[in-house]
């Protein structure tokens, strides 16, 4: 069932991400691989939308394009009214720093910094003082249940705890868009469930838009909508229940 993006928009909420005809090609000539073939997509504030699909269908490339870590070759990428395709390097970096929070599959916590320092990075990058950044990070870490381990280093934590630090880091600067790349891939089922619970509770408040790329069908139920990608295109966008009922 293929559905146009606008048909699944959730009411009157503000559009967070809108892409039209996004194309991305890697390599040249005979070796060129067209990863995205004209993707149309829309995500609104206050919703958690998951992007699913088989390996190599372009999910991660599309995620990179909508968060501004990779430039599209053609098409438009509009995030909170800003056209990322035409945004220069420095402005794009600044835009990401202020508006986007990241949760990575491998957590990407810096091993030589303690979790308080790791969680305060986005605020430090915005030029906040160390004290203010760490106060805010400590609040978030306490919220995710790590308030007593602020001085711990990533290697001293379990995978689930590390992902919680990543969630705190992603939210500390209160971004309007949260990008999650396979957030449960490195976690067991129970921990993955807990992390998604936490993500849903803390990320989706404040009208934040959460976009999750995942293979993990166990967490589909957390989504408001699910966008299915195949061969460089968004094949369809579904309600979570509908997608599970038909495809899982």
């Amino acid at each position: 069932m293929s559905v146009a993006p606008s048909e699944f928009s959730n009411g009157n909420r503000e559009i967070a991400v809108a892409t039209r005809g996004v194309v991305k090609t890697f390599g040249r000539g005979d070796n060129a691989v067209r990863a995205l073939k004209g993707v149309d997509f829309e995500a609104r504030c206050g919703e958690m939308i998951m992007i699913v699909g088989p390996s190599g269908c372009g999910k991660t490339t599309f995620l990179s394009v909508i968060c501004g870590t990779m430039k599209a070759d053609a098409g438009s990428v509009n995030v909170f009214g800003t056209d990322l395709v035409h945004l220069g390097g420095g402005k794009l970096t600044d835009f990401r720093g202020r508006n986007v929070g990241f949760i990575f599959q491998q957590f990407n916590l810096i091993p030589t910094w303690n979790i308080l320092e790791n969680a305060s990075i986005p605020l430090l990058l915005q030029g906040q003082s160390r004290r203010k950044a760490q106060d805010a990070a400590a609040r978030l870490l306490t919220e995710v249940g790590l308030g007593r381990r602020l001085a711990a280093y990533p290697r001293e934590l379990s995978g689930g705890q590390q992902q919680r630090v990543a969630i705190a880091r992603a939210l500390v600067h209160e971004p309007r868009l949260l990008i999650c790349d396979e957030p449960t891939a490195s976690l067991d089922a129970e921990t993955g469930h807990k992390v998604l619970d936490l993500l849903k509770a803390s990320a989706c408040r404040d009208d934040r838009c959460v976009i999750v790329v995942t293979h993990d069908s166990r967490i589909f139920s957390f989504a408001d909508r699910i966008a299915e990608m195949e061969d460089g295109l968004v094949k369809g966008v579904y309600g979570a229940g509908e997608y599970k009922a038909h495809y899982v």
Binding site: I110, L125, D181
Partner: protein
């Protein structure tokens, strides 16, 4: 963020220690070897400091102070006749064997001073009186002679005797003299007695020591003396430079030390460059994550350069510190020679800065080329 950049550096203990070790070794090797080289060059000119006079006159074939081509005694009078010369005195200077009480031999640098004026006398007497050189068979020995004789079991003191060419030499004083390039002790006596101790030759005058009249420029007097056929004159400073230049040009010493210094620099570049590149390479994913989160290339460059220059400064400090300890220990012992001018420290500092710039730049290129999107792979 810069504080955290340093924490990132210190946190990777293995690489930090390797970087620090490489840079310390590099700074140590360069400063220590340069220090020994400079010390050796100082030794080559020690005669010029042990015998302090404004102008040295020698045979025209002489190229440096440690080389003696004997002249006729008449040259002293010819120099005295030059306009602007206040006084000119003869000096005998030659290496000769001393025979000790136990029958063993010790080469010495016999220095024969003008007996009337004692011009060229030791700068510092530690025992006895230089005027006693006028006594029969009297010599003054330096602290190196005491040390060398002691190694042979002879505790040389004022009043003791030894032989030079079967003639008695009685110690009437002990002086301090800077060690010479060949390391032989200085034995001072009068010019006339030095000629008696030395093997008889047709010409025996080694140098003429000259002082210009007050108000007359040394260079003018030197120019006038040079007009005398067969002899050459140098100011103290000229002779110093000429001697060092000669050793640099005609001996393998600079190549030998230069090779070690060059190896030190290359080892530093190789170890530090490679380790720092590895450090950045292993952290590139984290740095790319910072990029994704909003860190610009300028901030990342500041972080990488801060890391490189921090470890560079520490390596330089440790290397120079170890060299200073080495110098302090060996200056007390007296060997090997050691002299650390500020130019060596500045040169080594410049090399370390270059290594840091090089290492940081190759690391930074990796960071700049890294797309923030790699964090999703």
């Amino acid at each position: 963020m810069l504080r955290l950049a340093l924490k990132m550096l210190y946190g990777d203990v293995a690489k930090f220690v390797m970087l620090l070790g490489g840079l310390t070794f590099c700074a140590l090797l360069m400063t220590q070897q340069s220090g020994v080289f400079c010390g050796l060059m100082l030794w080559t000119t020690s005669t010029l400091r042990n015998i302090k006079v404004p102008i040295w006159v020698c045979d025209a074939k002489v190229e440096q102070v440690n080389e003696v081509v004997p002249m006729r005694d008449i040259e002293v009078n010819r120099v005295r006749s030059v306009e602007g010369v206040e006084w000119a005195v003869p000096l005998y200077w030659g290496i000769i064997s001393a025979r000790l009480r136990d029958g063993s031999f010790q080469p010495v640098q016999l220095t024969g001073l003008d007996s009337a004026t004692m011009v060229g006398r030791p700068v510092k007497m530690t025992a006895g009186n230089i005027e006693d050189l006028r006594l029969p068979n009297a010599v003054v020995v330096d602290q190196i002679a005491i040390k060398k004789f002691k190694r042979k079991g002879i505790d040389l003191r004022v009043g003791d005797t030894f032989e030079i060419n079967d003639k008695e030499a009685r110690v009437v004083g002990i002086c301090y003299a800077e060690q010479s390039f060949l390391g032989q002790p200085y034995i001072y006596t009068t010019y006339e007695r030095a000629l008696e101790y030395a093997q008889p030759q047709r010409k025996q005058l080694s140098f003429v020591l000259v002082k210009p009249k007050d108000g007359v420029k040394e260079a003018d007097v030197v120019d006038r003396i040079r007009k005398i056929p067969g002899i050459m004159a140098f100011t103290d400073e000229e002779f110093n430079t000429r001697t060092i230049d000669w050793y640099i040009k005609y001996t393998g010493i600079p190549i030998s030390f230069g090779t070690v210094v060059l190896l030190g620099a290359l080892v530093g570049i190789a170890i530090a460059g490679q380790t720092f590149y590895l450090f950045v390479h292993e952290n590139v994913r984290h740095l790319a994550a910072l990029k994704a989160m909003g860190a610009g290339n300028t901030l990342l460059a500041e972080m990488v350069f801060l890391q490189a220059f921090t470890v560079g400064s520490m390596g330089y400090g440790l290397g120079v510190g170890l060299t200073a300890i080495f110098g302090n220990i060996f200056l007390k012992v007296g060997e090997p020679p050691f002299f650390l001018p500020w130019q060596v420290l500045a040169f080594t500092g410049a090399i370390i800065v270059f290594i840091c710039l090089f290492s940081a730049t190759i690391g930074l290129l990796k960071v700049i080329r890294a797309e923030p999107a790699i964090v999703f792979r």
